[in-house]
Each structure stands twice: as structure tokens, then as C-alpha cells.
């Protein structure tokens, strides 16, 4: 479905994404994890077409989309949410979602019907007429998700939709995300909430300092020394391994 081939993105002297490659299979939920500043959001902006890569290619459903602007990629079926939520603050919840729905439903009545259906799906059905600016953090995250879904994407890029939610809100959102996948939408999600990543994702890619340093099944990733070091610093894997045997001095 999605194929990123040795993509690099430089911001001046800073290499935010460094020759990263990854594939996401159709119908799967894949995770993209990595420490803060690893380049995850930047990689999303490259896939969604908000920035052009300095080198490398992005293909979607067998088509090279590297040169296409963001709105054309959305029309092809790539939708993204924003890590920093970007609601249309002056609009109501249903109007926000309708903007996404208009992509495939030019008539007002159809777009609004679609928007209502999507709102129900993500649990915003009771707040349709509320102003987007008045939503809680959890509500805004749901709105991000709903707007992207309303474009009827084939690939959904979720950038930390669980960040800032409390444990019970996270528990509510996990089945919502799984439900979206079960309806046939391929999902690539950036997430720091490991419990969610481990329970949702079938495949995980790990990005550190712009490079893909590991990929595989959640269980493999959790025990990969390179991943542990990326998160906890050099030598961490060894120390962790030594801990059970070595005793209390760590």
C-alpha cells in the first residue's frame, strides 16, 4: 500500500529523516515509534505531501506520488492527522468533519450525512453542534481523527492521537482505531503510548535520529537491543540484561 524508499529530509544543516525506508501492507496497522525528535512527524509530512523530500521516493498503491501536492495525495486516499491538533476553530464539530466529507461528496446534504456518520463512529455523535474551539483535548483528538476519516482514505496516518489522553480515554480510543482498520483502512500510527502500540500494531518501525534502526513484530521490537539503546541511551540494553543477574547495584 505504502512504500517509502530511502527518503531523506534536510532542514538546513539538520538531517531530520536520513535515508529511511519502510513498507506498510494493505489492511494492516503499522506503528512508527522512536524517541522525541527522531523525525517521525517529518516522515509523515513527507508521506502526506506537505514537504518534499530532499531525496528518495514515496509510492502509494503502486504509484509514485513524490511529486504530488498534499491535496492530490488526499484525493488518492492518503489522510493524516496533526500531532498539534488543527481544528477549524470557528466552526462546529459537524462543519469541521463536513470539510473532509466534501472531498468525495460534493452535495451539501450528502457531505453532512457522511459527517454525522463519521462523528458517531469516533464517538463525537453527541457534540455535533458544539464549537470545535470548546472541545476538550480528547474531543479535539477525536475530531482530528474524524475529519481525516471523512475523506474516506485508504491509508490513514495517525500522529500521536492518544497523546494527552488519560488512561480511560486511551482505553476508549483503542477499539475505535481497531474498528477503522476492520473497515478496510490501512493505518500507520506514530505513538508514544507503548501499551497501545503493542496491542494494536502488527508491525512496528523504529526511527531514531532520522534512521530506521529496527522493524518487526511488537515482541521482537520490545527485546531488540538497538531499540532499547535508542530509547534509554548507549549501554542500556546491556545494563538491563545484567540487572536480573547482577542484583541491586544498578
Amino acid at each position: 500500500m505504502l512504500s517509502v524508499q530511502s527518503v531523506t529530509k534536510r532542514f538546513g544543516g539538520l538531517v531530520a529523516v536520513d535515508s529511511a525506508s519502510l513498507d506498510v501492507a494493505q489492511g494492516s496497522i503499522a506503528g512508527l515509534i522512536g524517541p522525541n525528535g527522531a523525525g517521525k512527524t517529518t516522515l509523515f509530512t513527507l508521506v502526506a505531501g506537505f514537504e518534499k523530500p530532499s531525496s528518495g521516493t514515496v509510492s502509494f498503491a503502486g504509484q509514485d506520488v513524490t511529486a504530488l501536492p498534499a491535496h492530490e495525495r488526499a484525493a488518492l486516499g492518503i489522510a493524516r492527522t496533526f500531532q498539534i491538533v488543527q481544528p477549524f476553530a470557528g466552526l462546529s464539530v459537524v462543519e469541521n468533519i463536513a470539510v473532509g466529507a466534501y472531498l468525495r461528496h460534493p452535495a451539501r446534504a450528502d457531505a453532512q450525512a457522511k459527517a454525522r456518520a463519521v462523528a458517531d463512529l469516533v464517538g463525537l455523535g453527541g457534540q455535533l453542534e458544539q464549537s470545535a474551539a470548546a472541545l476538550t483535548v480528547a474531543g479535539r483528538k477525536r475530531l482530528e481523527l474524524a475529519r481525516a476519516l471523512a475523506t474516506e482514505p485508504r491509508l490513514l496516518l495517525l500522529d500521536e492521537v492518544l497523546a494527552g489522553l488519560n488512561p480511560s480515554e486511551i482505553r476508549d480510543m483503542i477499539p475505535v482505531i481497531r474498528n477503522i482498520r476492520d473497515r478496510g483502512v490501512t493505518i500507520l500510527m506514530v505513538e508514544h503510548v507503548m501499551q497501545a502500540v503493542m496491542s494494536l500494531c502488527e508491525h512496528i518501525h523504529v526511527l531514531a535520529q532520522g534512521k530506521i534502526i529496527a522493524q518487526g513484530k511488537p515482541a521482537e521490537i520490545a527485546s531488540d537491543p538497538a531499540v532499547i539503546e535508542a530509547y534509554l541511551g548507549q549501554g542500556a540494553a546491556k545494563r538491563l540484561q545484567a540487572k536480573p543477574a547482577g542484583g541491586a547495584d544498578a
Partner: protein
């Protein structure tokens, strides 16, 4: 449908009755002038109010519409109605060009506003210097009364024509606001990045908005020429009309369909009244104008429409109690 368009139809129909009740030339003169301003402001509102792209230079479009109709008639003897239609097209084209140059290079906010102001000023200076436009002496359109020439002895006829244009744009604005294009305009105004993520071609939307906006304000310019039969560079491209076009929607209610009309009526209504009662003091109407603008921004940021909405909700609450 009736809920959406009813108030507009009632307002236009009621206004169309005014010339039957009032025949004083000074009053009809005032109404035509206020309607021309309303039309220019409706144009500004499409770009500034709906798409959120503030222009300080709508004179560029007003003047282009005005000069097109004036020069086509004086230089080539083109029929006034044909010239009027062409002036709308040409003003739209000027809008598209200015939009293309500024939106393509990513100009937003105050940068865009300043660039539009610069375009209008350049056009004013060029029109003032050129002999083709009559230069500083201006251009007179030949007096030749008759419906075929878009010239009417009766001022009431002009009121109705201006009203028809304002009414048409009012209905069209409501239709746009209820359409996909309207939702995209709002999305661009509220958050361009989010709009792009949802498949909105923001550049195309902004270009459409400025073209439409310029065509409408251009029609106001052409109408001005047809009514006064005289034009010079400072009327056509002067800052006065850029200011009129943007202040009326702000006072009336920015981004609302009725805002530009209510704003133009309120500003010029008060202006005329003060001239009537304090006519001896030169510029007193302008002082009032400024005071109204300050009062709006300070106390009613959503303009007259916002005040009406607040009043309506207060009454609603009383009723349900």
C-alpha cells in the same frame, strides 16, 4: 431553502418599494451611492470575509471595472451594456492576476494586504499619468439618455438596477456559503494546513475567491461610471474605495451575507444624517465614520450581524423561560 433565502428576498423586495414611497432626488442619490458601496463591499467580503484574505487594495478592481466601461465607450463607442459586462470580466482577470502573483508566492495576512494596496496605488499613478485614461483631467462618458445606453433620466431606475445587482450577489453569496466551495473557503480562512490535509486545493480556492471578489467590486466601479458619467484616477483607484469596501463588511459583520449591505447602509446613513444636522462642520461625516469603526471593533467585533444574533438569542431565552 426558505429559511436560507427568505430574509434576503424579503430585504431586497422591501428595498425595491422605497422609490415608490420616496421620490426626492437627494434621497435616491444617496441610495444609489450606498448601493454601489454595498456592492463593492460584497466583493471584498467574498475574499476577506469568506476566504479570510484581507485586501487593502480593492480599488484595483473597482477602478479596473470603472475604467473598462468608461474607456470602451469613449474610445471605441462600445455599447454601455456590453462594456459593463466586459468590465466585470476584466476586473475579474485583474483579480486573478494579482491573486496568482501573490498567492503563488505564498503571501498571507498583512503581506498580502500590503501587496494589494501597492497594486492599487501603482494603477492609480499609471492611470493619472496616461493620456489614454484622460490623465488628471479625467474622462467624461457622453451623456446620451436611454435604456439602450444604460442611462436613465429617472433615478428610481438606477436604484432598481443597483438593487438587482446587490440582490443577485446577496443570493449568490448565500448559495456559496451553503456549498462545497463555501466550506472550502471557510476551511482556507480557518486553517490552510488542515484544509490541504483534507484534499482542498488551497491555491485554486483562493484564486477563485479573488477572481469572484474582483469581478463583483469591478461591477460596482462600472456602475459608478454609468451613474456619474465621470471618472478620474483618484476616484477609480483611490484609497477611498479600498477603505469603503473593507469598512462596510467589518461594521456590518465580516463573512456574513448581509454584513456588507448593513454596514454600507449604517455608515452612509449615519454619515448623511450628521451632514444634515451638522452640515456646517466640514468632514464631520468622516469623523463619525471613524468613531463607528472604533466602536464596532471595540464593542461588536462581529458587527451589526453579531449584535442582531446576540439580541435574538436574548429574546429566545426570555421566551423559553
Amino acid at each position: 431553502m426558505i429559511r436560507a433565502y427568505g430574509p434576503a428576498i424579503v430585504l431586497i423586495a422591501a428595498a425595491a418599494l422605497v422609490p415608490f414611497a420616496i421620490t426626492a432626488n437627494t434621497v435616491l442619490n444617496f441610495i444609489v451611492f450606498a448601493l454601489i458601496i454595498a456592492l463593492a463591499a460584497q466583493g471584498w467580503n467574498v475574499l476577506g470575509g469568506l476566504a479570510g484574505q484581507f485586501s487593502f487594495g480593492h480599488a484595483a478592481f473597482f477602478g479596473s471595472g470603472a475604467y473598462t466601461t468608461a474607456l470602451l465607450q469613449t474610445h471605441w463607442g462600445v455599447n454601455a451594456w456590453v462594456a459593463f459586462a466586459l468590465s466585470i470580466l476584466l476586473a475579474g482577470a485583474v483579480g486573478w492576476i494579482i491573486g496568482f502573483l501573490s498567492f503563488r508566492s505564498g503571501l498571507r495576512g498583512s503581506y498580502f494586504a500590503l501587496v494589494t494596496l501597492a497594486f492599487a496605488e501603482v494603477l492609480r499613478i499609471l492611470a493619472n499619468a496616461s493620456t489614454f485614461t484622460g490623465g488628471a483631467a479625467g474622462t467624461l462618458v457622453k451623456l446620451d439618455m436611454g435604456p439602450a445606453n444604460f442611462q436613465f433620466a429617472s433615478r428610481a431606475a438606477f436604484v432598481w438596477i443597483a438593487l438587482a445587482l446587490v440582490g443577485f450577489v446577496l443570493i449568490a453569496t448565500i448559495a456559496i456559503m451553503r456549498s462545497r466551495f463555501g466550506a472550502w473557503l471557510t476551511a482556507v480562512r480557518e486553517n490552510e494546513d488542515a484544509a490541504r490535509a483534507l484534499g482542498v486545493d488551497t491555491l485554486a480556492v483562493k484564486l477563485k475567491a479573488i477572481t469572484l471578489s474582483a469581478a463583483i467590486t469591478g461591477a460596482a466601479g462600472a456602475l459608478y461610471v454609468q451613474y456619474y458619467l465621470y471618472l478620474d484616477a483618484s476616484i477609480a483607484y483611490g484609497p477611498w474605495i479600498s477603505i469603503e469596501a473593507l469598512v462596510a463588511p467589518i461594521v456590518g459583520g465580516i463573512g456574513t451575507a448581509f454584513g456588507p449591505i448593513l454596514g454600507a447602509a449604517a455608515l452612509h446613513g449615519f454619515g448623511e444624517l450628521t451632514k444634515l444636522f451638522a452640515g456646517g462642520i466640514p468632514g464631520i461625516d468622516l469623523v463619525l465614520y471613524g468613531l463607528l469603526l472604533i466602536a464596532t471593533i471595540a464593542f461588536a467585533p462581529d458587527g451589526i450581524m453579531g449584535l442582531l444574533k446576540r439580541l435574538a438569542s436574548v429574546f429566545d431565552r426570555r421566551r423559553t423561560r
